[in-house]
Structures are given as structure tokens and as C-alpha cells.
């Protein structure tokens, strides 16, 4: 299949499905669900097909599509995948399919729910595949409205508050991103590489940055603006306060999507846009980013420990886990005198760790939210102090849940381990002190996860209301849980085959381009200094 047809189909098949849903009869809820599930499954199948077309050994952008959209502004419909976006595309379509399977618990206004869900999937896939900044921004914003309604209509008791908070936070970040976008767009017109044209092409902008043609001031300001925009989504302290509310109030499948995919967009945005286009800004802020990441880890872990609401605990664990992503990307050490990168291998390892952590967290956090949802559907409460003894009532479910929670903990052999260990190891090269603090976060993580398992699954008996409703999990739920568990184990045992192999060439490209970009700007800067000093 042509790349244009394939990539467009992957992005817009869910939209077509959403349109198709409008013709169903109002009463035929079951067939609407099956139809929507078939659409997400087909999308997953298409992304697998895309993987088949994808050459893992190559580091560059593949299967590119570039069609003019608004020629007066040089805005293009430009798509493509590389080793960084490909795994995230797969993760997105997988989690969407699983989330759709988990959506049988939605009983009201089913049609509207399914339509919004599918539109959301289009937005998510579009973000990971677009190579045009404007197009990226469009897809980024497309997700907001469906998410607002998915939380606001189908959420928990404080849903409206949570939904508007999510919306306002993300929109504020987007506005900053928009201003950075304008800076880079008009900045690109002054570069020799574009021939005086202003462009939105992310690859071209990266080349301009590599050639050092964005001034250091532009890079620093643009990086900070972009970083805040993405950090809100990531979320990193102090921009994380929307997350516990949104996650807690959202219905289970939406929590899975939020934690499994939406948070990854923050990380992806930093690695795809903020860092390659503003390498000088990234280096300028590197220490602050790592420190912020370390703080997020510790803060998130302590906050998680203090929760009594099961879902809120999982939500704060996401804040903690995404801290590793931030650290891994930013452990970029340079020689202050020459501007050359010190030990690029360590930085690449950190990047790989950050990417793998995103994938691993996508599986484990979606799994954790699903496990909480299974319990909530039965007993309709999430108070950690009113559980206990679930292991005896629902042994199979509890076994799967414990595996998922251990994956979240970062137990070796499961998906959470590789990312954390890569990140912590690479941090040692950057700053031993921060590495020690980050590593100690693992203990806190183990603390709250083990404590949770003890309070919920172990213990003599169930202490909460509706004990009679604790029925064994059904086939649909088992299927979702099993898929997640299998992925958690596979990614833990075969990290190289399941992701690292695909990412490595792209990460090498990225780090080299950023190092070159930084050095050029650094040299230009030191020349100016040496000229001004007679």
C-alpha cells in the first residue's frame, strides 16, 4: 500500500467509524459497541501492517507523505514514522483497542461515547505521525474536546470540575506552544537552508537547528515555552495538578487512555519537537529538567503513598513514573569549554530508557487503571482501607493484578524495570547526587505498591460494602488483562526485541543532531566572546 493511503487510513479510520456509528439504530447498542471495537481492532491491525513495512534498522524518517495543505503558509499534510514514533503508534492503537473492550461498562449514551472515543483515537494517532508542526498542533488540540466530554459526561461525581480543569490546563499549554510555533516559523525564514521561506516542517526545522541557525536566545525562549506546554501533558511537577482529578473522575477506559497514551504525548513532544529544534535551549535547561524529573519521582511517590482512593494512588504513581522519562531525555552532559557532548553513549542510554519507560508505563498504568476499574465495577467504591482479601474471592483476577502492579513497581523481568534502570544508570554520568535520589525513588515506589497489594489483595477478609458482588472476572475482562500481562512480561524479558532495537538508530540520529546543533551555537557564542575581549 502507498504510504499516503496507509498512514491516512490509520489516522482517519476511527473517524470514518465515528461517522458510520451515526447510521445505527438507537436501540442497537450492542452492535454499535461491536462495530466500534472492530474499527479499533482494524486500526491496530493496520498499525501492525505498518510495522511490517517499517525498516527497523534505519534511523531516519520512513514512509513519508508530504502534500501541500495551505500553500500560502507552507503548511503541509506531512506524515511519517521513525523508531521513536513507531512504538508509540503501536501502543496507541493497542491501548485504544483494549480501552474499547473495557467500554462495555459504559451503559448510558453509548453512541455519543463511542463516537468521541474514536475521534480521540484519530487525534492521538495523528499526533504521533505528523511531521508538520501545524498539523501536529491541530491533532494535539483535536483530542481536547472529546476528552472534555468523555470525562464531563461519563465521569464520576466531580466530573465537570475535573473535565474543565483538564481542558484549561492543556489549552494554556497549547497557547504557549502556539507562540513558540510562531517564533520558530518566522525564525526559519531567516535561515539559509529554507531559501527565505517560513516553514513548519519539523525535519527541516531540526536541520536548521543542527546547522546552528536559530539564535541561542530564540532557542532558550522557544524551548521553555514548548517545555511548559508538554510538561503539562507529561505531567511534571508543578504542572501535574490536573492529572489526579482527571484520572479519578474519568471512566475506566478513559483513564486507561489518559495514562496509557495521553501522558506519552508530553514526552513525545519534548523528544520530537522541543529538543531537536531547540538543542541549545535543551542543554541550557538540562540540569533543571533532570532536577524537575527527580523531584517529580519523589513527590509523586510520596503523594501516592498518602492516598486512600485507589485510583488517585495510581494517578500519582503516573506522576512519579513520568519523572523517569523527563530525566532520561535530559541527561545530556557537555564539556563547558568546547561544547562537545561528554559520553554520548550514556545520554543515548538515558533516551532509550525514557522511551522504554513510556512504553512500559503505557502498558502497566493502563493495566493498573483497568484492574482498579474491575473492582470498582463490582463494589462501587475505591477506598483502599475498605478492601482486603480479594485474593480469596477472585484468585485469578488477583494474580493478574499483582503481575501488573509489580510491573509498575519495576520488578526485573517486567516492563517497568528496563526503563528505570537505564535512566538511573545514565543519570550517574550526569550527576551522581541526582542519580542517588532518583534511585531511592524506587524504594518509595516499592513501598506504596506493596502496601497497596497488601491492603487490597491480601488480608483475611473483604471489609467493604457489597461483598456479595465480588464475582470472578468474565471472559472479556480476562482477555484485556491477559493481553496487558503478556505484554508486560514480554517487554520485561525481551526488551531489545520489543522496542530498544527499533528505537536505537533513531535515538542515535537524534542525539548526534542535537550535539552538532549545540556545538555550532556554542562555538558561535564563544567566538563573539573572544572577539569582544581584545
Amino acid at each position: 500500500m502507498e504510504p499516503f493511503a496507509l498512514l491516512s487510513l490509520i489516522i482517519f479510520l476511527p473517524t470514518l467509524g465515528a461517522i458510520g456509528l451515526t447510521v445505527f439504530d438507537k436501540k442497537a447498542e450492542e452492535s454499535m459497541r461491536m462495530f466500534a471495537l472492530a474499527i479499533t481492532a482494524a486500526t491496530f491491525g493496520l498499525t501492525l501492517f505498518l510495522l511490517g513495512q517499517f525498516d527497523i534498522a534505519q534511523g531516519g524518517m520512513q514512509l513519508q507523505v508530504n502534500i501541500p495543505w495551505v500553500p500560502t503558509w507552507n503548511i503541509n499534510y506531512q506524515l511519517g514514522v521513525d523508531g521513536i514514533s513507531m512504538p508509540l503508534v503501536l501502543l496507541t492503537s493497542l491501548i485504544s483497542m483494549l480501552g474499547m473492550m473495557a467500554s462495555w461498562s459504559i451503559k448510558e449514551k453509548v453512541r455519543g461515547y463511542l463516537i468521541l472515543f474514536l475521534l480521540l483515537e484519530t487525534g492521538m494517532l495523528g499526533v504521533f505521525m505528523s511531521l508538520d508542526f501545524f498539523l501536529f498542533y491541530v491533532f494535539w488540540e483535536v483530542m481536547l474536546l472529546p476528552m472534555y466530554f468523555l470525562i464531563g459526561v461519563w465521569g464520576g461525581p466531580r466530573r465537570e470540575y475535573a473535565a474543565i480543569k483538564f481542558f484549561l490546563y492543556t489549552l494554556a499549554g497549547s497557547v504557549l506552544m502556539l507562540i513558540a510555533m510562531l517564533m520558530l516559523y518566522f525564525g526559519s525564514g531567516e535561515s539559509t537552508l529554507t531559501g527565505g521561506q517560513n516553514i513548519f516542517d519539523l525535519l527541516k526545522l531540526g536541520e536548521i537547528a543542527k546547522a546552528g541557525e536559530f539564535s541561542s536566545g530564540t532557542q532558550v525562549v522557544a524551548f521553555i515555552l514548548l517545555f511548559i506546554g508538554f510538561a503539562i501533558k507529561l505531567p511534571a511537577f508543578p504542572f501535574h495538578t490536573w492529572l489526579p482529578d482527571a484520572h479519578v473522575e474519568a471512566p475506566t477506559p478513559i483513564s486507561m487512555i489518559l495514562a496509557g497514551v495521553l501522558l506519552k504525548m508530553g514526552g513525545y513532544g519534548i523528544i520530537r519537537i522541543a529538543m531537536p529544534i531547540c538543542p541549545y535551549g535543551a542543554q541550557y535547561a538540562a540540569y533543571a529538567l533532570v532536577a524537575l524529573g527527580v523531584f517529580s519521582i519523589i513527590y509523586g511517590a510520596f503523594a501516592a503513598m498518602a492516598q486512600t482512593d485507589f485510583k488517585r494512588l495510581v494517578a500519582y504513581s503516573s506522576v512519579s513514573h513520568m519523572g523517569y522519562v523527563l530525566i532520561g531525555m535530559a541527561v545530556w552532559k557537555i564539556n563547558e569549554a568546547t561544547g562537545a557532548t561528554v559520553n554520548p553513549n550514556h545520554w543515548q542510554m538515558g533516551m532509550a530508557g525514557a522511551m522504554f519507560q513510556m512504553l512500559g508505563h503505557g502498558i502497566s498504568s493502563a493495566g493498573m487503571f483497568f484492574m482498579v476499574g474491575v473492582l470498582y465495577d463490582r463494589v462501587h467504591h475505591r477506598d483502599l482501607n475498605k478492601f482486603g482479601g480479594i485474593m480469596q474471592k477472585m484468585p485469578f483476577y488477583s494474580g493478574l493484578a499483582v503481575v501488573i502492579f509489580f510491573a509498575g513497581l519495576g520488578l526485573p523481568g517486567l516492563c517497568g524495570f528496563i526503563g528505570e534502570v537505564f535512566v538511573v544508570l545514565s543519570t550517574w554520568n550526569f550527576s551522581p547526587l541526582l542519580a542517588v535520589i532518583a534511585a531511592s525513588g524506587v524504594i518509595l515506589t516499592a513501598g506504596y505498591i506493596l502496601w497497596t497489594i497488601q491492603r487490597v489483595y491480601l488480608g483475611p477478609e473483604y471489609k467493604g460494602p457489597h461483598p456479595e458482588d465480588l464475582t470472578p472476572i468474565n471472559g472479556r475482562e480476562t482477555a484485556i488483562a491477559l493481553v496487558l500481562v503478556v505484554f508486560a512480561v514480554l517487554m520485561g524479558v525481551f526488551p531489545y526485541q520489543m522496542g530498544l532495537k527499533m528505537m536505537t538508530p533513531s535515538i542515535e540520529n537524534l542525539t548526534q543532531s542535537m550535539s552538532t546543533g549545540y556545538e555550532t551555537v556554542h562555538e558561535a557564542g564563544s567566538e563573539i566572546i573572544s572577539m569582544s575581549q581584545p
Binding site: 501541500p68 495543505w69 495551505v70 500553500p71 500560502t72 503558509w73 503548511i75 498542533y137 491541530v138 488540540e141 483535536v142 481536547l144 474536546l145 472534555y148 466530554f149 464531563g152 459526561v153 465537570e160 474543565i164 481542558f167 484549561l168 489549552l171 494554556a172 497557547v175 504557549l176 502556539l178 507562540i179 510562531l182 517564533m183 516559523y185 518566522f186
Partner: protein
């Protein structure tokens, strides 16, 4: 030139050209007369006045469209040859841009483009009034006479080339609208709104006239093309300062004229009439006022602003002051409009404040244009500001029309316009569901979220402010405030959407049912919001806007 020569020129060269260009407006004048005649002979029982108005407007629209195509293709378009011939278009007439009616008005593709937009809007508004049944059969001729009369003023505003015409155009568009606001006879709120509007408008007219006389007194001319050069001549080599009487008098004159324009644009601090007038008027009239008079006034503002350009330092400083003043007004309008909209309970009042805020966004483009002209004088960049504004206005037309149309249709069913009455609207019948989604699209586009058209308009305006920021930093402040206001505005638009989609209806048994024609109309005016936000039509409209704007700057 001797008197006979002059007369010859006027009668044989200027008049035929002017009539050719002005023909669509003359058709509208004819329509007004036809409306009155139809009513006089009681023919409106078998041929409703609304259809007379609609047909007349359609004819005028075709006329302006022919002019536009003629200018674009140079009269070479094969399939449109017949139309060019029918309207008698010639290369010396419509084909040549420049002043007509002895310099009172000017003709270029910028003006023609705005006239197309206004007439298209008039057609859509007339279709809306036919669907909603306001005015009733016996009042039709009055209503449409006023509507078309007001539009005539706006059409003239698009080509203003003389201070006197500026005053005439603004009054021509205002006076009928005073009556239209009070058209719902017997409603106290309506009469009160009309009264406030007319008193305010009369005061403003006086102020503006004073500004016009001041400017003409100081500069010794009323013609736009000469204002800038006269000012440069008078200033000579002296620096621009507030101790210079010429500079002070000119600035004062400009400010007073701007008061009149700001009143039409409902910019803070001349916005007080707007919420009251919108609340009192019917939704159809409010929609007309919020879009059409704004489009006309912006065309006029751009022409007036461009009258003061030149290369001498004094004129450039004047440009900068002009631009910064507009920037301040833009900040005030955006912020005030958005914040005041929070507490509104009446949807039309909320939309009035939203209109104020959007006027603030739009005037940002004019401010950016003036600031750019004052600095580097890069005319391409200045043209980009105008093309962004054109895109925004084109999109704004559909967004606001959709919003007001939905208000009008829902009012016909529930007889209420407060936000509470929209609770659970989306649970209604199929057509109600569809127009709820259309309302959603319009509102989200008003916030400026992609992939809807409002985003691209806002993006274009923000980018012009960004570029102007490199000439004077204040425009970056304006841009930052604009971004912040986008976030503010989300809140109150979502409040309405929350009522429609999330809250349960007050009375489960009484759902709102609407006729399917209504649904078709609303979908028709919503589609452009989608098309201009995510299809290649964006590129087409923007390319046209750029062409049109470049003509304005003679590039």
C-alpha cells in the same frame, strides 16, 4: 481645467464608470422601492416581501461576484462572459481600480471582496428570517427596507475614500439598525435597548463629526489619499511631539474619528450599547449587527488607517502612535469582553460580550499593520496582517451566524433565551441533536480550537501581531494577552456547551423538536466552519485574501 471640460469628464468618464461599479448597490435601492410598492398594492399576500428582498439581494450578489471575477481574470473568463456582458463590465470601469464618484469612493478588489462577503451574509440573514418568521407578513417591507438600507451603508463603507463619506457610511449603517433593534414592538426591553442605542449613537455621531471637521480643518482636505502627505507637508522637518499644534490637532481628530469606528466595532470603552442592544433585539438582528456592521467598519478602519502612511518620520511616528493606540484598545476589548461574559445568564448577552472580545482580537491585526508600516514599512508583512483579518472576518461570519441562528430557532420553540433553558438540549429530537452539534462547532471555533476555522483565523492574526512585535515590543504584550484571553474565553463558551450536552433537561417529558428545514439551514452555515478549518479550501481562501490584501498595498 475649464468648467465644461470638468463637466465632460464627470459626465462621460466618471459617471459611467461609477454607475457600473455601483450597479449592485443600485439594484438594492431598486429592491427597497420594489418592497414598498409590493406592500402598497397589497401584493405581499401572494408574493411575500421576504422573497422580494431575497431576490433583489441575490441579484446584487451576482453583480458584485461578476465584478470580483472580472477583476480576478481580467474579463477573460470564458464561462462568465455572459455575466460580465449583462452587468456591462468594462476594462476602464470595473477592470481598473481607483477612485470613482469623483473620488468619494474607491474601487479595488479589497472593497469588492468585502462587498461579496456582506451580500452573502445579507442573503443568509434573509433566509434565516424567512425560516424564523421574524418579521411577520405585515411588517416585512419595513424590516427588509431597514436591513437592506443598513447594508447599503456597509457596502459604501467598504469603498470609503473621503472623510465625508466615512461619516455618511457610518450613519447610513447605524440609523436603520437603531430601528431594527427596537423592531419587536411591545417588548419593553426592546424599546429600551433601541433608545439606549440611539442616544449613544447620536452622541458618537457628534463626536465623530467634530473629528472630521478638525482633520479637514488642519489638513485642508477630506480626501483619504492626501491626508498623509498633507500631514507630512505641514510637519515639515519638525519632530513629532505633543507640543506641536499640528500633531496634537491631527491626533485629536484621528482619535475622535476612531471613537465613531470603535462604536461600530463595539470596542471597549465604546461598547456599552452592545449587550443591551443585543439582549433587546431579536437574535436575527443581533446576529446581523454582530457580523455585518463589524465587517463594514473594519474595511472602513483599514482604509482610514492607510490614509496616514508615508515615508517622512513624522508620518511614521503618527502610524506608530495610531497602531499602539489600537493595540491598547485591543487589549482592553479582549480582556473586558471575555471577563464580563463569565457572569451572563442570557445567551444573547453572552454572545454580545463574545462579540466585544472578538472585535478586540480583530483590531489586533490593524494595530499590527500600523506598527509594521511605521517601522520597516515592509508592505508584504502589512498585507499579511490584512489578509489574516480578512480570513478571520470570513470565518467569523459563519461562526456568529450559526450561534445566533441557533438562538433564534430555539427561541421559537422554547420562547426563552437564558442559558438555563438550554439544559439538556442535546437529548431532544434528531434535528435538535444536529443543531446542538452545530452550536458546539460554532462555539469551539469561537474559542479558536483546531481543526475548526476559527483557529486558523486567530493563528493568522496572532502571527501578524508576533511579527509586529519585532518593530515595537508592545505588540508582543498584546499577543500574550490574546493567548491568555483564549484560555479565559474557553470557560464561558464551555458553560453553554455544558448546559447543552452534560446537564439534564429541566423537564424530561418536554424535549425540543425542530423542523428539518431548520436543521438543513444550520448545517449549511456550519459546514464552512469545518471546511475552512481542515480542507484545502483554507489554502484557497487564504490565497484570495492575500491577493486582495496585496492590491490594497499596490504590490
Amino acid at each position: 481645467m475649464s468648467v465644461p471640460d470638468l463637466l465632460n469628464h464627470v459626465l462621460h468618464t466618471d459617471l459611467p464608470r461609477s454607475v457600473q461599479i455601483f450597479a449592485p448597490e443600485l439594484v438594492l435601492c431598486g429592491t427597497i422601492i420594489a418592497l414598498l410598492l409590493v406592500r402598497m398594492f397589497d401584493a405581499h399576500r401572494w408574493f411575500p416581501t421576504s422573497w422580494v428582498a431575497l431576490l433583489g439581494t441575490l441579484a446584487a450578489f451576482v453583480g458584485v461576484f461578476a465584478q470580483f471575477m472580472y477583476m480576478k481574470t481580467g474579463g477573460e473568463h470564458e464561462s462568465l462572459k455572459g455575466m460580465f456582458h449583462f452587468w456591462g463590465l468594462t476594462a476602464d470601469g470595473v477592470g481598473t481600480s481607483g477612485p470613482y464618484f469623483t473620488g468619494l469612493l474607491t474601487h479595488d478588489s479589497f472593497g469588492v471582496f468585502f462587498r461579496i462577503g456582506l451580500l452573502l451574509f445579507l442573503i443568509l440573514i434573509e433566509a434565516l428570517t424567512i425560516l424564523t418568521g421574524i418579521p411577520d407578513q405585515d411588517d416585512g417591507q419595513d424590516f427588509y427596507t431597514l436591513l437592506i438600507g443598513s447594508t447599503l451603508g456597509m457596502l459604501m463603507a467598504c469603498g470609503v475614500n473621503n472623510l465625508l463619506m466615512l461619516f455618511v457610511a457610518i450613519e447610513m449603517m447605524s440609523v436603520p439598525s437603531y430601528v431594527m433593534v427596537g423592531f419587536l414592538k411591545g417588548r419593553k426591553l426592546s424599546s429600551e435597548a433601541a433608545f439606549k442605542y440611539v442616544v449613544y449613537g447620536a452622541g458618537i455621531a457628534g463626536v465623530m463629526l467634530y473629528g472630521v471637521s478638525l482633520l479637514s480643518g488642519v489638513l485642508g482636505t477630506l480626501a483619504f489619499p492626501e491626508l498623509g502627505s498633507r500631514f507630512a507637508l505641514l510637519m515639515g522637518d519638525s519632530a513629532f511631539s505633543l507640543s506641536n499644534p499640528t500633531a496634537v490637532a491631527t491626533i485629536l481628530g484621528i482619535m475622535l474619528v476612531l471613537v465613531g469606528v470603535a462604536f461600530k466595532l463595539s470596542l471597549v470603552p465604546f461598547h456599552f450599547w452592545c449587550p443591551d442592544a443585543f439582549e433587546g433585539a431579536s437574535a436575527e438582528v443581533a446576529g446581523f449587527l454582530s457580523v455585518a456592521s463589524k465587517a463594514g467598519a473594519f474595511a472602513l478602519l483599514i482604509r482610514f488607517a492607510l490614509a496616514f502612511q508615508g515615508t517622512s518620520p513624522a508620518v511614521q511616528t503618527l502610524c506608530l502612535v495610531f497602531g499602539l493606540a489600537l493595540g491598547v484598545v485591543s487589549c482592553l476589548s479582549m480582556t473586558f469582553g471575555n471577563l464580563a461574559a463569565y457572569t451572563q445568564t442570557n445567551l444573547k448577552r453572552l454572545l454580545a460580550y463574545s462579540t466585544i472580545a472578538h472585535a478586540g482580537y480583530m483590531v489586533m491585526a490593524v494595530a499590527a499593520m500600523m506598527v509594521i508600516l511605521s517601522g520597516s514599512g515592509d508592505r508584504n508583512m502589512a498585507a499579511a496582517c490584512v489578509s489574516g483579518l480578512i480570513y478571520y472576518i470570513a470565518v467569523y461570519l459563519f461562526m456568529n451566524l450559526t450561534a445566533f441562528a441557533v438562538v433564534a430557532f430555539i427561541r421559537n420553540e422554547t420562547f426563552r433565551e437564558d442559558i438555563e433553558s438550554y439544559n439538556g438540549l442535546a437529548t431532544g429530537g434528531a434535528v435538535t441533536k444536529i443543531i446542538s452539534v452545530c452550536l458546539l462547532i460554532a462555539f469551539v471555533s469561537l474559542v479558536g480550537l483546531p481543526p475548526l476555522a476559527g483557529f486558523f483565523g486567530k493563528f493568522a492574526i496572532f502571527s501578524s501581531a508576533f511579527r509586529a512585535g519585532s518593530v515595537h515590543w508592545f505588540l508582543w504584550v498584546v499577543l500574550g494577552l490574546g493567548g491568555l484571553n483564549t484560555v479565559f474565553s474557553l470557560f464561558y463558551y464551555l458553560r453553554v456547551l455544558r448546559a447543552v450536552f452534560i446537564l439534564p433537561p429541566a423537564d424530561e417529558t418536554k424535549t425540543v423538536e425542530l423542523p428539518s428545514m431548520v436543521g438543513a439551514y444550520v448545517v449549511l452555515i456550519t459546514l464552512p466552519i469545518l471546511a475552512l478549518g481542515m480542507t484545502s479550501f483554507m489554502g484557497d481562501l487564504d490565497a484570495t485574501a492575500v491577493d486582495v490584501a496585496r492590491q490594497l498595498f499596490h504590490i
